[in-house]
Symmetry: C2
Subunit: 389 residues, 2 copies
């Protein structure tokens, strides 16, 4: 059910004291090979955390042997000291893997991911012993512990798996706030025992994230630390086609993305915004994202209010192709708006459940896209007004 489901991987999660709660906060995922190919996608934010800058460099080397992840601190906006700390973390991880596990690993083979508060240096005196303990705890069934150790405000650990014929894909994820287009605030590690070169992995991962993580948006805020890594061990000795691999990775990414939205901070609704009849996929995505990011739409759903007028007002701020008097909107199957004006009685809309399906038909073409989002609730305000202090 997790990153240690595919053959050739070990993982662990330990408590190093970065979190004041004493919960696990350092995770490690190790690729035992025989392959060490990898791909990654990172936040579109121009303010990138030190571990993002580091892991982008590691990927250029073409090999990832291990991913070390910490919660309890993002190591973002921490200047040159922050980058040195990430470098030290990778060096320490490689050194312990060499000395304790007799593995030929260099610091340039170790990706680093951090999550937590922005702007504070990591307590390296706690982190490095935590890494040592995480190496010691590595196990072929350690995936769930790794998933737990990367949680921040997540209420549940997030794991997923795709089982192919003789090969598989597994994943772990964290993320509950700062979820937005161009990658949600998330750390994701995906593993596969398929055999694939870096270019194939990169294509599969980009195709998968484009229609999954890039299409969820909890609060419109883009993180400094978003990282999705895909590691292949080749241990199954199977070589799926690009299409098969893409489908498998997409399934795991979709599963994890839905878990992220399902656990988004303070959310009481899980909202799918399907845009149909768009002139282009880009138009469909833009309309969906704009509606998903609109605070008045989100508060309306929190109040169980099928306020389609706010949806139209949000669509109107996009530059997608549409005519205001041709738009139809359905909420949970009731076409409350036809041709840009009121249609079926909004009282027919049942919003009592957690799931909300919004369909926006632009009648401009054949392209569709779905964006998943949440409502804006008192609990969101509470969690985010009390996070760092």
């Amino acid at each position: 059910m997790t990153v240690t489901h595919p053959k050739g991987f070990r993982a662990s999660g330990v408590a190093a004291g970065l979190k004041t709660s004493g919960n696990p906060d350092v995770a490690l995922v190790l690729n035992d090979g025989p392959d060490y190919t990898a791909a990654g996608v990172f936040t579109g934010n121009r303010v990138k955390a030190a571990p993002v800058l580091w892991s982008q460099q590691v990927l250029k080397g073409g090999v990832i042997r291990a991913v070390v992840l910490n919660s309890g601190g993002a190591n973002a906006c921490t200047g040159s000291q922050g980058f040195r700390d990430t470098h030290t973390t990778a060096e320490h991880t490689a050194q312990i893997l060499r000395t304790q596990k007799k593995l030929m690993v260099g610091p340039g083979d170790v990706a680093v991911c951090s999550t937590g508060l922005i702007g504070e240096l990591l307590p390296m005196g706690k982190l490095l012993p935590g890494v040592t303990a995480a190496v010691k705890a590595l196990a072929t069934d350690g995936g769930p512990k790794a998933a737990t150790a990367i949680m921040t405000t997540d209420t549940v650990a997030k794991n997923a798996v795709f089982q192919g014929e003789g090969w598989s894909v597994g994943g772990i994820a964290k993320g509950a706030g700062m979820l937005a287009p161009a990658l949600a605030t998330m750390l994701v590690v995906i593993t596969t025992d398929a055999s694939a070169d870096n270019e194939t992995l990169d294509k599969a991962l980009r195709a998968a994230t484009r229609v999954t993580f890039d299409r969820i948006d909890a609060d419109g805020c883009m993180s400094t630390n978003d990282t999705v890594l895909l590691l292949a061990s080749g241990a199954s000795d199977r070589q799926p086609s690009l299409e098969e691999l893409t489908a498998a990775v997409t399934e795991v990414c979709h599963d994890l993305a839905q878990q992220l939205i399902g656990d988004a901070e303070g959310a009481t609704k899980h909202i799918a915004i399907e845009v149909k009849g768009a002139a282009s996929e880009a138009d469909a995505v833009q309309v969906g994202r704009t509606v998903a990011g609109n605070n008045l739409v989100k508060t309306a759903f929190f109040g169980n209010d099928p306020n389609w007028g706010r949806i139209l007002a949000a669509v109107g701020t996009t530059d997608a192709a549409f005519e205001p008097d041709r738009i139809d909107v359905a909420i949970n199957g009731v076409w409350v708006c036809k041709n840009g004006a009121a249609a079926e009685d909004r009282k027919k809309v049942d919003l009592a459940g957690r799931n909300v399906d919004v369909t926006i038909h632009l009648h401009e073409g054949e392209m569709n896209a779905t964006i998943w989002t949440t409502d804006l609730s008192h609990a969101y305000v509470h969690e985010n007004s009390a996070y760092s202090s």
Copy 2:
């Protein structure tokens, strides 16, 4: 203190029963001349309410004799019937002004503004008698009543005045939510007894709104109904220069804009985001707006949390010219971030008061801009989750 301060204007506000509360909901502002020149700016939303489409047509005629405004219904997303209703309202207003006041007014001289819930037809059976009553109630001291009649979720009526030498500018405004760039959700009527042609009025109004209404953002949501009208009576017989007129109109717009932000739904903070050292004014405005619209920044301020990391993460999503390691951020005068990393102790920041001043220095050039916004509070969620139902 209001639209009837300049000579040559009458106004009124009456209760027509559009609001279930029984509060005043129909306002009228009449220009008694001798000039009837005018200018207007309207929402950038492509989904425009019927009264916006109508008033844009009226302005093309170059004359506005009267502005009739209603709260209790936006008449947006109401299809062709909605447009016919706006037309009928203008015709009725003109007819009553002709028959009751013996004024030569045609429907094409009457601008219409509506505000309230989107997607429902106006109760014309209540509105038209309300217009008749509003004509009857017209008075040279009626501005405050007009300001009251256009309130929706506003908690206070909004009036402003600029007194020149022998001439003046007055204004009324409503708006408390859906406040965003490219005009907040607002109806604003500004009057002056200066003498100015339409082109001069248009230049003055656009210059004024660009640095006032266009730089406030309460919740990032752009309305379907935003309208700012400037009417000149020429009754003072003074002809200020374009610069003088622009300065005066800007002062009134700034005053009203600050009143709008000060009364924004659920706000507990009045936040000024000053962006300095930008390479261009457009960069400064983009950075300011992006930070102002970030829910994590807004919830942090609600929680009295000087979370500058969220500010940097928001800046990072713009395409303005900046280097992450050169940005400085001050909150209420404390430089909590220097060169993109922690500087002065965030505990020094006093956020106990209502006013918050954020300074973001990009160190890229000489251009500055200030955006005014609010925090994101429980009260915002409450008001907007319960508005239409």
